[in-house]
Structures are given as C-alpha cells and as structure tokens.
C-alpha cells in the first residue's frame, strides 16, 4: 500500500510540475516539453500493443502520420476549426487502424511486426506519392492554426505556452484513458494474450476481437498524437509515416520500460534529453542511441523506469507480481 501511495505521490508531483512549467521555464524548454509530451502519447499508444498485448508494431507511425495529415487536410479544405480537425483525425485514424488491424491481428510476433511495417509503408507511399493531395515529399503545410476555443476562453495557439497546455491536456487524457483500460478486465485480457494466447482462446475469449480492439485504441491515440505533432511543426511530412519513425516509439518504450504504463513517457523524456546532450558534441547521435539500446536490451530489458521500480520493490522486500 505504501508503495502505491508513494507512486501516486510521484505522479501528482510530476503532473503539478508539468502544469506549472510554463510559469517558470523558458520558451525553449517549453517547446522541448511539448515535443516530449507529444511523443509520450505516441509511444504509450504503441506500448498498449507491445507492452500489454505482446504485439510489436512497426507500423504505428503510419497511423500517427495519417492522423496528422487528416487534421491538416481538414483545416485546409474544411472549416477552420480545431475541434473539427481533431474529430476528422480521430475518426480517420480509428477507421484506418480498424482496416489495418483487421488484417494484422491474425498474425503473431514477427509476422505481425512485418505486416504492420508493410501497411505503415503503404500509408507512407500514399503520403509521399499523392502529390496533388499531400504535397508529396515537401509535406503539407501552409495552414493557419485556429484559436483554441474552450467556450469560456479563447486563446491563440501561436503562443507556445497555450499550445503546451493543449498538448499537456490531451496527453493526460490519453494517459488516464490507457490507465483505466489496462486496469480493467479488458486490460487483464490483453495481458493474458501476451502471456498465453492459446489459453485465452481455450477459455472462450475471441483473441482476434480483443487484439483488434487494442489495435484500434492504440491507432486512434497515435493519430491524435500525430495531430499534435503536425500542429506543433506546422507541417505534416511523409517522414512521420516512415517505419523509422515507428522505430522511435519502439526505442522510447524500451528506454523507459515496456512493462509500466508511464515507461514510454519517461523513455520519451530521456530520448529528447539524450538527443540534446549528445548532439551538442556530435551529429552522429544514432551511434550512441544504438549502443544504449543494445545495453538496455541485454542488461535492463525492463527499461529505466521498470528497473527503478524493481529496485524500489526489492528495497522494500516485496516481490512484484
């Protein structure tokens, strides 16, 4: 019980820090925090599949990018409404992940990884080659970000601090949603799929349907993260859909720890801080990232947050379930 209390204390403290950050941090750091939060949401959506359901998706970026493009397209061709753009991306990425998921959840492990990679790259090709709609390799920009309309309060999103609060709110909602989900009976089913697919189907569960459900939720959240990413950069670009971008979500998750809900968020933070520290010395920071990933996989497969929690547990003399 004490551990749980200590844990929630940490969460409350860091949420308070994030909420108060715009009042004492410089704009530079606010921008970095915005990026971290956006990628946290993306990586957490990936981890619902990887950490909880045992499905390694290398196509998550495809849906992430599709969300970004849909939101920008809705702003360019539709009403200039922020909520309209979010709604378009939400519906679109849910639909896309329903279609892709329907095919992919039939396969396990490596086949799932390759299939999702394939579908993600099909989406990449659409974004890259359909020049008249998506602007091709230049990306799709040139839109004006509508003001944030909260009915009681309106503010321009051109202000990085306003934009930060929007991202923080969306990321928090996403995290709470995922928390409720993985701690529900449905979340238990996801974990049992990870542990033993056969046994779960023996007790009568429809493994495909459960997986598909997780795939759609993960895809929708990834799409929303993609909207934030495209809005933040003022452009939706094909790189957002490339499998290498999915690799980023994978990296962040492993860095932070795939067994913990907030692991990917911690991983995203470490990723950006490392990037800033290392790129100050060399542009070839992927060498270091690769080396770090190798060491983590070999020595700390539970990631930074996961290993820290293990350490705390051991210190308190309680075995983790």
């Amino acid at each position: 019980m004490r551990i749980r209390r200590a844990g929630s204390l940490w969460i409350v403290a860091s949420t308070a820090f994030l909420a108060a950050a715009p009042f004492f941090l410089s704009t530079y750091w606010i921008l970095i925090l915005t990026e971290i939060l956006t990628m946290s949401l993306f990586a957490m959506s990936f981890n619902l599949l990887f950490g909880y359901t045992g499905l390694l998706s290398f196509g998550q970026a495809g849906i992430f990018g599709a969300g970004g493009y849909l939101a920008v397209l809705s702003l360019l061709h539709g009403p200039s409404s922020l909520w309209g753009a979010f709604a378009a991306a939400l519906a679109g990425s849910a639909l896309i992940s329903l279609v892709i998921g329907w095919f992919c959840v039939r396969r396990d492990e490596i086949y799932f990884a390759i299939l999702t990679l394939g579908f993600g790259m099909m989406l990449f090709t659409v974004a890259h080659n359909w020049r008249s709609l998506t602007g091709g390799s230049d990306g799709l920009g040139g839109f004006t970000l509508p003001p944030l309309d909260l009915f009681v309060w309106r503010g321009s999103l051109a202000d990085p601090r306003h934009f930060y609060f929007l991202v923080l709110a969306v990321a928090l909602i996403g995290a709470i949603l995922l928390y409720r989900m993985v701690n529900s009976p449905f979340g238990l089913m996801l974990r049992s799929i990870r542990e033993n697919t056969q046994r779960l189907s023996f007790v009568g569960a429809d493994v495909r349907a459960v997986r598909l459900c997780a795939f759609v939720v993960a895809g929708t959240l990834a799409g929303i993260a993609g909207v934030l990413f495209a809005f933040f950069n003022r452009i939706a670009s094909p790189e957002m859909l490339h499998w290498a971008f999915s690799g980023k979500a994978v990296l962040m998750t492993i860095l932070g720890g795939s067994g913990v809900l907030l692991g990917p968020a911690v991983g995203a933070a470490i990723f950006f801080v490392l990037e800033h520290v290392i790129t100050a010395y060399t542009t070839n920071w992927m060498v270091f990232l690769g080396a770090i990933l190798i060491v983590l996989v070999l020595a700390f497969p539970r990631g930074v947050l996961g290993s820290l929690l293990d350490l705390v547990q051991r210190y308190r003399g309680r075995p983790r379930s």
């Binding site: 095919f103 492990e109 299939l115 990679l117 394939g118 579908f119 090709t125 080659n129 060498v287 190798i294």
Partner: protein, 286 residues
Amino acid sequence: MEAFFANLLNGLSWGMLLFLISMGLTTVFGVMGVLNFAHGSLFMLGAYLCLQFVRWTGSFWIGLILGPPLVAALSVLIERFLLRPLYGRDVSLQLLLTFGLMLFLDDGVRLIWGAAYHVVNPPEVLSGSVALFSRSYPLYRLFLVILGPIVGIGLWAFFTYTLWGKLLRAAATDRQMAEIVGVRVPVLFTAVFAFGAWLAAVGGALAAPHQSVGPAMGERIIIESFIVVVIGGMGSFPGAFVGALVLGLLHSFGTTFFPQLQMALPYILLAVILLIRPRGLFGAES
C-alpha cells in the same frame, strides 16, 4: 521488346542481390530463429569495405575476397556476446537488439566514411556493355544475373550434400534433438550467423559497382529482403530465390508501368501473400 528486356535485366540483377542477402537472412532465421534487423547493415558494411579496399589497392576483386570475411569476423563477436544471452527469451528482444545494432552500424558507417555517396567502378573485365537484341546492356548486370543462380545452386548443394549443411538443417529442424546426438549447437549457431553475415557482405561488395554506396543502402535493402523472406516463407531457400526474383522484377517493371504505385507494390504483395498463405509461398504450415 527492348524495354522489356532492359526491365527484365534490371529486375533480375537487383533480384540476385536481394537473393544473396535474403539467403543469409533466411538461413539465420531458419536455424536460429532470429530475424536480424542488422542484416542490411552487414550488407552495407560489405559494400563499404569493398570501397575501402578498392581505394587502397585499386582492385575490386581484393575487396570482394577480403571484405566479407572481416564482416563475418565482426558478426562472430556479435553473435557470441550480444545475441547469445538472448536465446530462449522473448523474440521481440532479439529483434530490438538487432534494431539497436542496425542504428549503431548505420550511423557508425556515416561516422567513418561520411554521409556522401560513393561510386565503385566495376572491375575492368566486367566494365563496358554488350549488345543484346540491338541494345547495349551493362556487362556487370549480366554478370550478376548469371552469378545469382550459380551461388544459389552452390548453396543448395552445400546444404543438401555436405556434413555441415546437414548439421545445419538438423539444428534448424530440431535443436534439442541435434544437441542430444552430440551436435555442438552453440558453435553451429555462431558459424551460421557468421555465414549469413558473409553472404550479406558478399552481396554488398557485389552491389557496390551496381549502385552507389551510401549510408542508406542497408536500410533500404533490409526491408525489401524482409519482404522476400516472408513472401517466400521464412527459412526456405527456394522461397528466398522466388521471392527475390519476384521483388526484383516488381521493382523494375513497376517503375516502368506503375511509377506512382511502385513504392507500395512490395508491401501490397506482402499483405496479399500473407493473407492467402500465412507461412509464405514455400513455408511449411505449422
């Protein structure tokens, strides 16, 4: 007709390079159960080492002969110290480790040789072109097209008739049983991994005069060879051969007839095949 033959030749020569690298990938997967993300990086390393030897000695053949064993030696270390601790653990961990290795090697190459693209000239004997059907074709591409099947048959003979080949197949079929009858499986695994890396590096060295040598070449070919291996059936040699040819031809004919779709064609093919035949064209149903 001429365009058809040009496409055919381009497709076949690219297909043969794909075949070489897919053979290593599928062997390593078939025997060890490891899908090696860094396999494309080993291919790239083969090309860069060839480039380096050409710079030092001026001879492509020296690069082709000396480069691949160096890559194989490196992969012995990789297998022994990085992969071995992960056997028997989650498959995803192996995939992630090789993914990290890929990032490391790809950027490491950029660190050593720079981000620019380099050109390696074909050896004197194979430079120039030949006239076929009233058009001239680069001789080097023809050489690749002829070399591919020879290597394929050689490997097939190796796996079918030699003791080592039989040991490998035994370990691939049933690792435990092979261990019980006294096969030193850990040594075998190291050998298989090194062999796969050697094949990839040979492919890379052969690719050096065929395309420009740059840091992105590994990333590109690894995805295509994943598709080849999955389409053909993981661990299947005939599958790798057919898959590589299909993908090579799809590449060249797709560029001519469906330029807009060409990039997506391999992925569409992948999805269709996996839905119709989940284990690939030549894969054994489990």
